[in-house]
Amino acid sequence: AQSVTQPDIHITVSEGASLELRCNYSYGATPYLFWYVQSPGQGLQLLLKYFSGDTLVQGIKGFEAEFKRSQSSVNLKKPSVHWSDAAEYFCAVGAAGYQKVTFGTGTKLQVIP
């Protein structure tokens, strides 16, 4: 069965600092990987997706993710965090065919001035 682990429940960073959110997955075949963001009171919005090819994937709002097959990880990164990035971030894994998408428990990001 597929699963996703986000080891950090809560992270605090200073505005302008770099960010890395960790995500590890378990899946028997080549996965499709996603990062979603959820602002307070909002639905989830797709930040980026990885289907195949390059291991560094660009997303919206200046986010990128590095897929490392050997470590079963897809960490989310941003070089310089803005106060508006404060939100909860979810990693998810799925696959073509069956299409079931499983979410991690999320990482809540706090940005301090």
């Binding site: 639905g43 998810a92 299409q99």
Partner: protein, 117 residues
């Protein structure tokens, strides 16, 4: 392009009452999902439809939850009778296809927040 529409946004009921949530996916998206998100947790898949057929309902508490997708478009999720632990946000999402395959890329509605007293 219109997004995924859900209603109602908020609902407060007492335990043992019933409630229904409605979802209208993005036009042309064949796959529709219902997720339950309890406060502080990630979304948990309840049921997945492909057109009007059920693909996965393994985590749907079938003794009290039911869902249908009429004509492969709109969907309704019902809870009867509700329990305190059903308090959550119910998220509907739809997914497009790419070269005939469903990608799993989800487009979410804003959710329906249920409070059971």
């Amino acid at each position: 392009e219109a997004g995924v529409a859900q209603s109602p946004r908020y609902k407060i009921i007492e335990k043992r009452q019933s409630v229904a949530f409605w979802c209208n996916p993005i036009s042309g998206h064949a796959t529709l999902y219902w997720y339950q998100q309890i406060l502080g947790q990630g979304p948990k898949l309840l049921i997945q439809f492909q057109n009007n057929g059920v693909v996965d309902d393994s985590q749907l508490p079938k003794d009290r939850f039911s869902a249908e997708r009429l004509k492969g478009v709109d969907s309704t999720l019902k809870i009867q009778p509700a329990k305190l632990e059903d308090s959550a946000v119910y998220l509907c999402a739809s997914s497009p296809t790419l070269a005939g395959l469903v990608t799993g890329e989800l487009f979410f509605g804003e959710g329906s927040r249920l409070t059971v007293l």
